[in-house]
């Protein structure tokens, strides 16, 4: 017996599947990652024969919600009903057996294997290449998805891979198909084609599709219903008839953007501290920057808004010397800095508080003092040796100043809480930024008092003439601090707003890739 999925286990004590029941009902799903509440009591109904759009910013909880449905994350509370029957989705194989398939953003194809082998991976029973190829052909022809089953995935373009992912899902004849940002790496014609395929899936075969996206136009055109999530909760549901792009944008961003509480610190000066010209870059074969242009003047705080994959992360990597450019250049204080050379940005006076501190911001197995001195050993060394005394002295001062709780200079960073680890990185980079400071998600994991402290420090640095790039998905933060806001979409700047012109609707539209 060969098949692409594992057989459905009969649900214990379940009533017969109800043909009229919604494809999926999520009831009160809650998931907590450490201190972060990713999904809070989320309920949602996905109907057959509909494309259900799931809209939200980064961290809104939409991917976590769908990962619970796909068996990749176990919910802390709540229940899932598939075709009216309560089910427990323990792992991806169970999800497949229940007729749920998900096209992920990353990591789901093996590059060295051929297309048909990738499609067969995760299936059951005898491995039959001829049958698999024939099935691929059938599905591919049926949906107009051109794939060659005998090519190695390595050799495929991004959009070809996307088609393979889709075929891999569709061939399992799922009742519910989940796609996570499927069009973010596609060209517009490719994206339109994909959406037309999805339309066929729902209208001709009456399956259900969940389309995770933050592209407003895409959802407005393709979805029959849209659920908007923010901060782990469902905010609104709209049917296609009611959908108004402006309203969606406003909902995604939030209505209560605080009015600019106080004018940003100081006035920008004329001198341009950071200039990025026509930056193009690829990461893991995906284009991440496509002609990014950016100028930040001394004393200016520029907020960088954008959704996942818009280039926010790549911008931070570029300024952390982690991303070489295919084209374009970076200048700090008028001097060109070679992108991608270890430590070059650091030496040029760029401080970066990265979004994911564990990856590039700190070393868990080194002490607090060592983490504080990591990027610049000069002031604590003499004759090539690091002076313990000075290391400790500086660390003690910083620990007091930033109120890093539970830490002595010699405490291993691993033993600090997440919030305090974040403070260590912040303290170091705020101190190191001579010309440019890049802060990504600075307030994540900090309490209100700490946030105030950090904001005061950022404002103070700007007042001293440092150029600040504030990369954040928390638009309230950006709005409070920034002189102007640039919005990234698909690796380039799509629009720019000032404090005065930044209303939720315009911001939402720009985030969704709709320049005015």
């Amino acid at each position: 017996m060969r098949s692409f999925g594992r057989p459905v286990r009969a649900a214990r004590g379940a009533e017969a599947p109800d043909a009229d029941a919604p494809a999926v009902q999520l009831q009160g799903l809650t998931k907590r990652f450490g201190p972060v509440l990713a999904c809070a009591d989320v309920s949602m109904t996905v109907l057959r024969g509909r494309i259900h759009g799931l809209l939200g910013q980064n961290g809104a909880g939409k991917t976590t919600l769908m990962r619970m449905l796909a068996g990749l994350v176990r919910p802390d509370a709540g229940r899932i009903l598939v075709a009216g029957r309560p089910v427990t989705v323990t792992d991806p194989a169970t999800a497949t057996a229940l007729g749920i398939a998900m096209v992920h953003q990353h990591f789901s194809l093996v590059g060295r294997l051929r297309v048909w082998e990738n499609v067969a991976l995760g299936g059951r029973g005898r491995l039959d290449s001829r049958w698999t190829r024939r099935e691929i052909g059938r599905v591919a022809d049926g949906y107009g998805l051109l794939v060659d089953p005998d090519r190695r995935v390595d050799e495929l373009t991004t959009s070809e891979r996307q088609r393979v992912e889709l075929v891999k899902c569709l061939i399992r004849a799922p009742q519910v198909l989940i796609l996570d940002e499927p069009t973010s790496t596609l060209t517009p014609p490719e994206a339109r084609h994909l959406l037309s395929v999805l339309r066929r899936v729902v209208s001709d075969e009456s399956r259900a599709v969940v389309l995770i996206s933050h592209d407003l136009d895409e959802l407005a055109h393709a979805a029959d219903e849209v659920t908007v999530m923010r901060d782990g909760a469902v905010l609104a549901r709209r049917s296609a008839a009611e959908v108004d792009v402006g309203e969606l944008g406003r909902l995604m961003v939030g209505d209560q953007l605080p009015a600019a509480v106080a004018a940003p610190a100081g006035e920008p000066r004329e001198q341009v501290r950071l200039r990025i010209r026509d930056a193009w870059a690829t990461q893991a074969r995906r284009p991440v920057l496509r002609g990014l242009d950016l100028r930040v003047r001394a004393g200016e705080i520029v907020g960088v808004a954008g959704v996942e994959g818009s280039g926010q992360g790549a911008l931070a990597d570029l300024l952390s010397s982690l991303l070489p450019l295919d084209r374009g250049n970076v200048e700090v204080d008028g001097n060109p800095v070679p992108p991608g050379r270890p430590g070059a940005m650091q030496r040029a006076g760029v401080g970066v508080v990265p979004e994911d501190r564990h990856v590039s911001g700190c070393v868990l197995d080194m002490s607090v003092a060592e983490n504080l001195a990591m990027t610049d050993l000069g002031p604590v060394s003499r004759w090539g040796f690091v002076s313990r005394g000075r290391l400790r002295q500086r660390a003690e001062a910083t620990i007091r100043e930033f109120a890093i709780g539970g830490a002595s200079p010699d405490t291993p960073l691993r033993l600090l809480s997440g919030g305090n680890q974040q403070r260590v990185v912040l303290a170091r980079e705020l101190g190191a930024a001579a010309s440019v400071l890049v802060v990504a998600q600075p307030t994540r994991g900090l309490d209100a008092a700490a946030v105030e402290h950090v904001f005061a420090r950022i404002g103070g640095l700007a007042a001293q003439g440092v150029a600040v790039l504030l990369i954040s998905s928390d638009l309230a933060d950006i709005r409070r601090l920034a002189h102007r806001i640039v919005v990234l979409h698909r690796g380039a700047v799509v629009g720019e707003l000032t404090q005065a012109t930044a209303d939720p609707q315009r911001l939402g539209l720009l985030l969704g890739g709709r320049p005015e």
Binding site: P342, V359, S381, G406, L415
Partner: protein
């Protein structure tokens, strides 16, 4: 959220868990070895006594222990430096013989005044070992060849290279009078190139190599912990991405660590050659490279812990020589060595398994 220091709370007081785990692990190991000895018809007590007599019982044996420990210490110190940079060099056995080969070549071919001869010999040995490790480093950074595989394969090339040199009279083979069997070995090194030794039979003898090894180990402890170079090296090993952001060049620091590791192994070869054997032979490495690597593993890559572990392993090697006289095959010591390594890695591995299996831990 709270900003308390996050601590684990096991049933046994936290500070006792690790020592107890190691104690249990080593007890099991020793029991296993004792059982093995008894089951093969020997006396475990007698074996223990013999090993003691062959190592720590008198000053003469102690000198022997130091000789064995010297080479192990050098190899292990290099291995620690390399491992701390996040590279795994397992080719010390090859780097050691190449070092000895280079040392022998220089000692026999380059005339030098008294004090310079041993310096040149050891310098050549270190350079030889570094060069051999450098091949693996170059292949890694240039062609992304896996360091483990690269250094491993180079061991076997090294031994053939040595065999080649020792079978050619125009290279290193000892000149013998016609009619005699020609052995694959070099001539005896000129006396000037021998490393000085202090002390006299039947008292303890200490070679200059031992002092050198201790000096290098001490310098490594200090440099790793205190110098900018050591800081960058540890940074690279612990988090390569953060290291790159902070300006650490992986090729320079990591490749340099591999060279140092090879240099230390080569130096060990030079010390064995100039301090002990005094002529180049095929079997000069005698597993010192492999066992030095194991010393570093047991010391869990702490440069200071390497010293006592090297002495322990040196004692086992010295004791092994004695063991044969009692009719117990000396290979028992290899079994003991391997089991000590396993016993020293298991507690940490089990601790990690417990951590992974603990429910409710979120990914971060």
């Amino acid at each position: 959220m709270t900003d308390r220091v996050a601590r684990m709370r096991p049933a046994v007081p936290a500070r006792l868990v690790t020592p107890l785990a190691y104690l249990a692990s080593f007890t099991v190991t020793m029991t296993a070895v004792a059982l093995l000895v008894e089951l093969t018809g020997h006396s475990a007590a007698e074996v223990a006594l013999t090993l003691y007599q062959g190592s720590f019982a008198d000053l003469l044996s102690l000198g022997r222990v130091l000789d064995e420990a010297t080479a192990l210490l050098l190899v292990a110190t290099g291995a620690v430096v390399c491992a701390r940079a996040g590279m795994f060099n397992i080719g010390q056995e090859g780097q050691l013989v190449i070092g000895a080969l280079a040392g022998a070549f220089v000692a026999l071919r380059v005339p030098a005044p008294g004090w310079l001869a041993p310096v040149l010999t050891l310098g050549a040995a270190a350079a030889g070992g570094a060069l051999w490790a450098g091949v693996a480093a170059a292949l890694h950074y240039w062609r992304r060849v896996n360091v483990v595989i690269g250094t491993l394969l180079l061991i076997f090339l090294a031994s053939q290279l040595v065999s080649f040199a020792l079978n050619r009279d125009w290279l290193l083979q000892e000149a013998t009078p016609a009619g005699q069997n020609r052995l694959p070995q070099s001539a005896v090194l000129p006396a000037a190139a021998h490393l000085p030794r202090w002390g006299r039979y039947p008292g303890i003898e200490v070679g200059a190599g031992a002092l050198l090894a201790i000096g290098i180990a001490a310098a490594t402890v200090v440099l790793l912990a205190r110098s900018q170079w050591g800081f960058r090296l540890r940074l690279l090993g612990l988090n390569p991405v953060a290291a790159r952001r902070s300006g650490v060049r992986a090729g320079l620091v990591g490749g340099g660590a591999l060279l140092i590791s090879g240099g230390c192994a080569g130096l060990a070869g030079g010390v064995v050659l100039a301090g002990d054997v005094h002529r180049m032979q095929g079997g000069i490495a005698n597993n010192l490279g492999w066992e030095g690597l194991l010393v570093a593993l047991v010391a869990r890559h702490h440069p200071a812990a390497v010293v006592p572990v090297a002495v322990l392993f040196g004692a086992l090697r010295a004791g092994a020589g004695f063991l044969a006289s009692t009719g117990v095959p000396r290979y028992l010591v290899s079994v003991l060595t391997a089991l000590i390594v396993i016993a020293s890695t298991l507690p940490a591995a089990f601790a990690e398994l417990r951590l992974r299996r603990r429910p409710g831990r979120s990914r971060s």
